[in-house]
Each structure stands twice: as structure tokens, then as C-alpha cells.
């Protein structure tokens, strides 16, 4: 598998570390009533078969955290964007 790192170019999979679902959002509330949202963030996953958006760390390269779109069934990689760039846009 190859990942197109926006900084380093297309690089082999062993340079990367996979963290999981990048569609979850860390809650900001610290109220006990927000525990459902925290449970969702820390533990519960859609775990889709097919298109997937995930956090990937170029740990053996530029050290950037990327948001990668990849198919979990075919392993085809669609895109990889630096998390920072993405967050700056939103």
C-alpha cells in the first residue's frame, strides 16, 4: 500500500501509523451530561466497510498527521491531506 503524503510524495505504508476514524470530534464540554458525546469520541466507531476517513501519522517521514480517505475493502487510497491544512480551512 502506498500513501500520497502531501509533503513527502507517495511513500510505502510502513512509514505510516494508523490511528483510526478521523470523523469523530473531541467534545468541548466537561459537564457530566456530555458523557454520551465523550463515549462516542473515545470508544464508539462506525467502522465502515468501504470508504473511510482516518487519521494517519507519517511517523517515519515528515511527522505530519494526515487525514486519509481510503477504502477498507479494496485498500485503494483516494487522498491524503495534512490535518493542520484541513483544520485551517474549516
Amino acid at each position: 500500500m502506498l500513501i500520497p503524503c502531501p509533503h513527502c510524495g507517495t511513500r510505502p505504508v510502513e512509514e505510516f501509523t494508523f490511528l483510526g476514524d478521523a470523523t469523530v470530534t473531541r467534545p468541548t464540554s466537561l459537564e457530566p451530561s456530555s458523557m454520551d458525546a465523550w463515549m462516542d469520541y473515545v470508544y464508539l466507531r462506525d467502522n465502515p466497510r468501504g470508504d473511510y476517513t482516518e487519521y494517519v501519522h507519517h511517523s517515519g517521514g515528515c511527522r505530519a498527521w494526515l487525514v486519509v480517505k481510503r477504502n477498507t475493502d479494496t485498500h485503494e487510497v483516494d487522498s491524503a491531506v495534512a490535518t493542520k491544512t484541513m483544520k485551517a480551512k474549516t
Binding site: M1, A22, L30, S34, M35, Y41, R63, W65, T74
Partner: protein, 959 residues
């Protein structure tokens, strides 16, 4: 035993005489022979024994699909089991031994299994060996294990070396037959970077042995001209002896190059094999097609072989399989064998064509073909049988990523699936059964730009197959999977018993599970199973094709990363100094850390105890460079650290250090360390040795993914600084001698001071007044390159105080005396509260792990928390891993109260003591518990106490 060497022709060098041994007997062959061809030419057909029935077997194929002719090649530590005689290039002095037989290949005792073959049907072992119960492991299974397996592997280390290489190309051509050569030449002429790989010892594929005429010349010289042109081009890499064994994500191919398997011993500085990872923009599969056996009684008698293999041996190696040959076919391709054998002056005893209703019922002969019986009652004497059951495109690689091949009625074979433009099949691998189509498909696939060049002219021969699978009239065994002894009758049996799905039938009958992975037999099996199940072949489908196409040695995958080079070694900047001091090193992850510094006659315990005592009495120096160090800068650095740590860092005064605790988002303790503020916008974090890399990744994630709006930068500086702990009552006096222009005292450098200084007349350094040992202590960091020099200077400065170097053993003793938590307690399941650090968790801010740390199970008072532990009998040694029980309780998991995590001999208190995790432990100081150490047969009483065993008032720290 009537194979012989044909007088002329072939691609062998008859001027050479190579001597080799098979089962101890000497034979001769020529350069260019394979072990199989040399044995055939020497009249040897019997080359192996089958797995279950130990039937005598000869060579069936001339290539990688060979299921029968497997030998142990070479001897001693270079011995390789299960080596295909058909793929072994002959060299002088070659030694091969037959396998899976006792006492000899000719007379194999376990051939008696054949007598019981009426019981040994598919899956018989699932139905028996169950009674009496104890007999399975004591009697049946040991016998089965001994009888099973094929060759015997060496248990000695491999003396040869292996390499890993990476390649990139515009076009990877897999297979160098007619279509592969066309594709390679066409692409190469357009300037593309081409790799042409072929598993054979020579390039050319079928043109090495088939009689063809292309563009007015014979097929071989046509091939040789193209190969010569390709070899002359700088953009082409030719890789003979290289098997592409797998296709992976990203159009990456795995390859195995047999660099020196064709010689007895690799030349000096050369590897035996080279593993390749090839990243191809495009690839074409030109692997050709595999001829199928027919399924009839005695189709395994030595001397029965594939029709193409028979002419391969005769035409390429000048090795005739027999003097009188019968040919059994369901298609036109076997005509070539008839013609070629006649050309070599070999008698054709009979041609039996299923399209004309001819069938061989049984082959007679035990260890060699003697005669054949036909369904029409006729009988022919012959000493070899050539068979052709049709041709299957070698689709394996194209199915390695999940796609399934597609059945084609016209050629009666599975065709490769369409897997996209990155990887296409051409030639007979794509089901093209005419030479002109093969050449043309190669040219088309090789045209990466511009116009498609014309196709060379050649003669075609119609394939004209009429599917025929199994001669049901056969009375003797008809084999489908030769090696595993799966017969035609096994498949209907599997279907009858409910194992009718192709994957279940495979597992139940073991068809296709041998070392050849069903290359020859699987399609026959599918056809016969489909018929039994009343399905079409297309409905039945294939089993899953998986890597490796042919087996790959462990050594090749491992490459040079074995033994000492399995993982890189990290040495600290003080490594040389530690060697000078006589350190004994210990592996800590990849690091080599100095463990203790023995004097003559000291064991580790004596050495470490002396180091502790000397440090606590005077001064000691310890290398702590392995701790992770992360430099954090930016105007929001403090705010950022407040999110990372559960305690607060934004309020830390410049020039001060603070102990910090970080949690994971699930509320469990992640790591700890001391972090200092060097300037308003500049912090220096330290982490544990074990978690240094993970903490760095975590910080990067937290900033880039969670809080990118914060103005903060960070970089690991672990490798840039050598760091030393200087501990003990004389540490200040020792350090004072090195420090430039600064008087060390409680005003200038109070406890937890952190500052940039210079030492030894201008050398950059950082000084921290922090302590892990519990002593008045400092940590001094200097640029890595100066580490050894500064350590030596400190040793000199401390000479008058009898300074000692101390290692991680002494460090560990001192931290356990002081009750400081480390790896044994920071085990990924403990909370801040468990460690007695619950109060560090700020209630005034958000931080990683805050919410999850509030869950009921995380704050349950019954949780196990850190306590001190000492044996009631103070003279007794205690060890880590003992479990704790209430004195009155019997041993059981339900009664388990906790366990001992860390122990040490305390030189100061003169006893063994430790830290434990104990349920509700903080309320139980003073309680005597039972320690259960069943592993060492040692049960004793121990007293629970405060984790701080030594100097609980911290007087020494502030002295």
C-alpha cells in the same frame, strides 16, 4: 527406467561434465541441465514418495508446478527440504536426497499405507483416533506427526546471506515467453523503464523448448535476438531466475531472485537470494499457461508426465522420458509432443484422444510405466505416458487482491479477471491459445505511447479442446492432487458428506493444499466436484489464490535483518565513557543502557549495592540520556502543555521544573516526567525512556488534529543532548568545579531550578535540580558530542568525594527505596489515583483524559493502588509477580488482592522490599498479607506499608 540422453541438440553444454549425487549414487549431467532433466537422462524416473500413501513418484512437470519430484538439496546447514528437482539448475558436486521414505526411496516401509487406502479416504482422521481419549496425544498423533511432513529441515543456522532491494519501473513484464518479450521490447523501444522478470534460469519462456517459426527464423533465435537487444538498452533490467510471487496494494510486486542457488556455495560477498519489492506503474502478466494432467488410473506412475514437459525435457535438455511413448490428450497441443518425439527417433506406441473416445483406464507398472489399458480393451506396452488435459492460464498473481478468475467454456479454463489498467494479462496467461495472438497481445500491452508496431509473422495451430476430466472406468487410483494423494473419488465423497462448497472440499480432501498449491490439480478437482454437486464449473468457482506463487524462503524475507542486526542498536552519548568505567549493558528497547559497573569479583547485586551506598554517602553519576526530551516553543506552549498534562504548566515560573503526569484520553496514566520552563515561550519536556516516541506522536496529534490554532512548535531533542544525573550529598560540590561563574546554592539553584549555564569555560549546558534517587541531586545536559568528555570531567571533579558511576540497577534500587513509580507501575492500566497522584489532576481546565477519568470504575476505592511491601521475615528475598491474598483467604482469582510490581534489594535498609498494587491499598498500610508465588513454590507473609521506604521526610533531597 528407460529415460536416456538424446544424442544431439538442446540447450545443454555437452562439453561439460557435472557430477552429482542422488540418494548417495553418483550421476553425470551437463551445464544447462536441471536436476530433473539430468536424472531423466540417466534413466531415473523414481524421484519421490507421496504424502499419504507413500506411492512411488516421478517427475510430472518441467517447472514450478512440480508436486512429486521434491528433494532435500545440499547437506548440513545449507540443506533445503522440498526443493523442486525441476527448478534446480545442475552444478558440479550437487547433492540431493529423496524424502518422506524409510528406509529408502526404492523400499519405503510406509507404502503399506496404500494397503489401508480403502480406509484412508478423504477426512478419515476426523472420524477416528478418538478412543480411548488419551491415545490421541500419546500414540496416534506422534505417529501421524512422524509420518507426515515431507522433507527434513536443518536445525543449524544458515551460513548464507540475503538481500532486500527495491525497484521502480514504468512497466514490469512477468514472464519472458513470446508475449512477454514483445511487451518488453515494444515498451523499451519507446524509452520506458522496463523490468523483465522470469522464474526460469534463462529468458525465453516456451521458446526455449517449443518448435516455432517466427518472422522466418526459429523461435529460439527470435527470442535470443530480442533478449540481446533488451540487454543492450539502459532503460531495461533483465531479471532471470526471479519469481514474482505476489501482487500487493499500490501495484507493488514481491519478487525472489535466486542469485546463487545455481552454484554449490555463493561466492564471497554475494547473497544467496535477493528479495525484491517492485513498484510498477504498470505491469503485465505474461506468465503463460499451465498444462493440466488428465485424471485416470495410475496417472501417478513414474513415467507419466505432462505432454509439454516431455517435449521440454527432450527439446531443451536432450533428455528423453522413454523409448516408447503413449500420448493421452483432449486437445491438439499434444500433437507437438508426438511430432517432437518422432523427430528425436522415439517410438510413439499409441495416441489416445478423448475427442475420439479414446481413454486410458489404467497405467500398469509400480515404479515405472510398463503398459496401458484402454477403455476399448486394447493394451499397449510403453515406458512413458504423455498427457494433456488442456491448459490453464496462470492467473494466480491477478487474483492475489481478491478478484476471482472467470470460467471460459471455449478454452475450458479459468481466465484472469479484469483488475484495471495497472495490471493486465497477455499471451496465454490471458487465454490466448494462438502464437500470433500471444505476440500481438504483448505488442499492444507494451505500447505505452505512439502507434502499435506490427506483429511478427508466425504459424498458428488450433487448440481445439473438448473438455474431458476423469476416466471413471479406471479401477486403480486416479490422482488429482499428486502430493497430497487426493484422488478423484475423494471429491464426490466430500460432496456427499456436505463438504460440497469448493472451499470446504479443499479443506476436507486437502486438494490444492500441497507445496504446489494446486497448480496442476485444482481445475480438475473443481470440474469433478462440480459434476458431483450438479453445478457448472463456473458456479463452483475456484478456491482463493494467495501469495506466494511459489514458496519463498524465510531468509529472503528477513534479508540482512537477522541476528545482531534484527533491530538497530541505540547507544547513548555516554556509551564510550560507560565502557571505560567497565559498565555491563542491558537492552532497554533499542537502547543499550549501562546496568551496573562491577569491580573485580562483584556480581550485579554487590556492584549495584555499592553504587547506591556510595551515591547516598557521597556522589554518583548516572547516564540518563535515554529519557525522551522534547523541546516545545511558541507563545501558546504553556496553554498547550496544560492540555497534554493533567497538572498545570502555564503557571510554572521561568527557570523552574515541575513533575508532570499525562493521561491517555481514556483517563489512564500514559507517561510522566519533568518539564522545565526555560523562557516565557520555551519549555523542555522529558518523558520516560519507554514512551519517548509515543509521547512525541501524541503531542503532534494533539496539536495538529485537536488544537491547530495554538501557536506551538515541538521537536524531539533526545538524541541532541547527553544527560547525566549527579546525585548525592557531594553532588553540589562536585558540580561546582565545572560550572562557569555561578555559585551553586539554594538561592541560585533551589530545588526544581532549571537553567541554561555554561561549564568548563564556555560549554553550553543545562542544569536541573531534580532528583529521582531522593538525594540532593542535579541533572546536567550537554550537547551530545561533549557527553563523554563532560562525564570524564565530572568523574575527575568528584574524585575527592569518591564518586562512583551508577547504572540502572542502582537507579532502580534507589527509586524503589523512595517509592517513585516507574515501568512496573505505569503499566497502562493505572490511574493517577492508583499511583497516589490523584491530586495532580487539575479541576480547573480541560486536559486529555479528564472526562474518562471520572467514570465510576476509575474512581472505585477498591481499585488496586500503589503501596510499599516488605517480607515479614526481613531476611527473605521477595520477587516481582507474586500475588497478594488476605491472610485468611484461600488462593483463587476471586480472592486476589493485587500483586508485587517492582522489587529491589535495599542497601540502605538492608532487606528486600518492593512496590505492589493492592486493592484499596492506601487504607491497608500495616496489614500483613499472604504472598502467593506458585511459580516458584514460594508463599510467605508480607507487610504492606507506605511506598516511601527510605527517608520519608525527604530530608536528603533538600540537604
Amino acid at each position: 527406467m528407460t529415460g536416456f540422453r538424446i544424442a544431439n541438440g538442446g540447450l545443454i553444454d555437452r562439453s561439460t561434465n557435472l557430477t552429482f549425487k542422488f540418494d548417495g549414487k553418483s550421476f553425470k549431467g551437463h551445464q544447462g541441465d536441471t536436476l530433473a532433466s539430468a536424472l531423466i537422462a540417466s534413466g531415473v524416473h523414481l524421484m519421490g514418495r507421496s504424502f499419504k500413501y507413500h506411492r512411488p513418484r516421478g517427475v510430472i512437470s518441467a517447472g514450478a508446478s512440480e508436486p512429486n519430484a521434491l528433494v532435500e538439496l545440499r547437506e548440513g546447514p545449507r540443506k533445503e527440504a522440498n526443493t523442486r528437482a525441476t527448478m534446480v539448475e545442475l552444478y558440479d558436486g550437487l547433492i540431493a536426497t529423496s524424502q518422506n521414505r524409510w528406509p529408502s526411496l526404492e523400499n519405503d516401509f510406509l507404502a503399506i499405507n496404500s494397503l489401508a487406502s480403502s480406509i484412508f479416504v478423504a477426512g478419515f482422521y476426523y472420524k477416528t483416533f478418538m478412543w480411548p481419549k488419551t491415545f490421541w496425544e500419546k500414540i496416534y498423533e506422534p505417529l501421524i506427526r512422524k509420518a507426515a511432513g515431507l522433507g527434513t529441515a536443518s536445525k543449524e543456522a544458515d551460513p548464507d546471506t540475503y538481500e532486500k532491494s527495491y525497484a521502480h519501473c514504468d512497466l514490469l513484464v512477468i514472464g519472458s515467453g513470446p508475449s512477454g518479450l514483445m511487451a518488453a521490447r515494444t515498451a523499451a523501444r519507446s524509452g520506458a523503464r522496463v523490468i523483465l522478470a522470469d522464474e526460469g534460469s534463462a529468458l525465453g519462456g516456451s521458446l526455449l523448448f517449443e518448435n516455432e517459426e517466427i518472422d522466418g527464423t526459429n523461435g529460439l533465435s527470435f527470442a535470443q535476438t530480442i533478449i540481446a537487444e533488451l540487454a543492450s538498452l539502459p532503460n531495461v533490467t533483465l531479471m532471470p531466475r526471479t519469481t514474482i510471487f505476489g501482487w500487493f496494494d499500490g501495484n507493488i510486486f514481491g519478487g525472489l531472485e535466486r542469485v546463487n542457488d545455481h552454484v554449490a556455495v555463493p561466492p564471497a560477498f554475494e547473497p544467496r537470494q535477493r528479495y525484491w519489492r517492485i513498484h510498477a506503474k504498470r505491469a503485465v502478466l505474461a506468465a503463460g499457461a499451465e498444462e493440466r494432467p488428465l485424471v485416470f488410473g495410475g496417472n501417478d506412475v513414474p513415467g507419466v508426465m505432462l505432454a509439454s514437459a516431455m517435449r521440454h525435457y527432450a527439446n531443451r535438455y536432450g533428455a528423453a522420458a522413454g523409448k516408447s511413448i503413449a500420448v493421452f490428450t483432449n486437445n491438439n497441443s499434444a500433437r507437438r509432443t508426438v511430432g517432437d518425439m518422432k523427430d528425436h527417433g522415439i517410438n510413439i506406441a499409441a495416441v489416445i484422444d478423448t475427442r475420439k473416445n479414446g481413454k486410458i483406464i489404467n497405467v500398469k507398472g509400480g515404479k515405472g510405466v510398463k503398459s496401458i489399458d484402454l477403455s476399448d480393451g486394447s493394451h499397449f506396452e510403453c515406458d512413458a505416458v504423455a498427457m494433456s488435459g488442456g491448459w490453464s492460464p496462470i492467473v494466480n498473481l491477478m487474483c492475489h487482491r481478491g478478484a476471482k478468475p472467470i470460467w471460459n467454456e471455449i478454452i475450458a479454463a479459468f481466465m484472469p479477471p479484469d483488475v484495471g489498467p495497472q495490471f493486465r494479462a497477455i499471451g496465454s496467461a490471458s487465454g490466448k491459445m494462438l502464437l500470433s495472438e500471444c505476440l500481438n497481445s504483448g505488442i499492444v500491452a507494451g505500447t505505452l505511447k505512439g502507434k502499435t508496431p506490427p506483429t511478427p509473422k508466425c504459424k498458428d495451430e488450433a487448440f481445439a479442446i473438448q473438455p474431458f476430466w476423469w476416466v471413471k472406468e479406471s479401477t486403480s487410483k486416479a490422482f488429482i492432487d499428486y502430493q497430497n494423494d487426493a484422488t478423484a473419488k475423494d471429491l464426490p465423497l466430500a460432496n456427499r458428506e456436505g463438504y460440497g462448497h469448493v472451499e470446504l472440499a479443499k479443506r476436507y480432501t486437502t486438494t490444492g493444499m500441497a507445496t504446489d498449491q494446486g497448480k496442476l490439480g485444482n481445475v480438475n478437482a473443481i470440474a469433478i466436484l462440480a459434476e458431483a454437486a450438479g453445478k457448472s464449473i463456473s458456479e463452483m468457482g475456484t478456491t482463493t489464490f494467495r501469495p506466494m506463487y511459489t514458496p519463498v524462503s524465510f531468509g529472503a524475507f528477513a534479508g540482512p535483518f537477522t541476528g545482531h542486526h534484527f533491530q538497530p542498536v541505540r547507544k547513548t552519548p555516554l556509551h564510550d565513557w560507560a565502557i571505560e568505567q567497565g559498565a555491563v549493558f542491558v537492552e532497554t528497547g533499542l537502547w543499550m543502557r549501562s546496568s551496573w559497573f562491577p569491580k573485580a569479583g562483584e556480581d550485579w547485586l554487590a556492584s549495584a549495592s555499592r553504587e547506591v551506598k556510595a551515591t547516598r554517602a557521597g556522589v554518583g553519576l548516572c547516564d540518563v540520556s535515554t529519557l525522551g526530551k522534547i523541546d516545545i516553543q511558541g507563545k501558546d506552549a504553556g496553554a498547550f502543555l496544560d492540555k497534554i498534562y493533567c497538572n498545570t504548566f502555564s503557571t510554572l515560573a521561568i527557570g523552574k521544573a515541575r513533575y508532570g503526569l499525562m493521561l491517555r484520553e481514556d483517563g489512564v496514566v500514559f507517561d510522566d516526567g519533568t518539564t522545565s520552563r526555560l523562557a516565557d515561550d520555551h519549555y523542555l519536556m522529558t518523558t520516560t525512556t519507554a514512551n519517548a516516541a509515543r509521547v512525541m506522536s501524541h503531542i503532534e496529534f494533539c496539536h495538529q488534529a485537536l488544537w491547530p490554532e495554538l501557536d506551538v512548535q515541538y521537536v524531539s531533542v533526545t538524541e541532541q543532548w547527553a544527560q547525566m544525573a549527579i546525585a548525592g550529598p557531594k553532588s553540589r560540590a562536585t558540580l561546582q568545579k565545572l560550572v562557569d561563574g555561578l555559585t551553586l546554592n539554594d538561592e541560585t539553584t533551589p530545588y526544581l531550578a532549571a537553567k541554561d549555564i555554561t561549564i568548563l569555560g564556555g560549554l553550553t549546558a543545562r542544569l536541573f535540580r531534580i532528583s529521582f534517587s531522593g538525594e540532593h541531586a542535579y541533572e546536567l545536559a550537554v550537547p551530545a558530542d561533549h557527553g563523554n568528555m563532560v562525564a570524564r570531567a565530572i568523574m575527575q571533579a568528584g574524585q575527592e568525594f569518591e564518586i562512583v558511576p551508577y547504572g540502572v540497577e542502582a537507579l532502580s534500587m534507589m527509586r524503589i527505596e523512595k517509592g517513585h513509580v516507574a515501568g512496573g507501575e505505569l503499566n497502562g492500566t493505572t490511574t493517577a489515583g492508583d499511583l497516589g497522584l490523584g491530586k495532580m489532576m487539575s479541576t480547573k481546565k480541560d486536559f486529555i483524559g479528564r472526562m474518562m477519568a471520572t467514570r465510576e470504575g476509575m474512581v472505585d476505592p477498591a481499585r488496586q493502588c500503589v503501596v510499599g511491601i516488605r517480607p515479614v521475615d526481613r531476611t527473605m528475598k521477595i520477587r516481582s509477580g507474586g500475588h497478594l491474598l488476605k491472610q485468611s483467604d484461600r488462593p483463587s482469582m476471586a480472592n486476589d488482592q493485587g500483586y508485587i510490581c517492582s522489587v529491589a534489594w535495599s542497601p540502605m535498609l538492608d532487606m528486600w522490599l518492593g512496590l505492589a498494587l493492592l486493592s484499596n491499598g492506601r487504607a491497608r498500610h500495616g496489614e500483613v498479607v499472604k504472598v502467593f508465588d506458585g511459580l516458584r513454590g514460594h508463599h510467605y507473609l508480607a507487610e504492606i506499608c507506605d511506598p516511601v521506604h527510605f527517608d520519608p521526610e525527604n530530608r536528603r533531597l533538600h540537604a
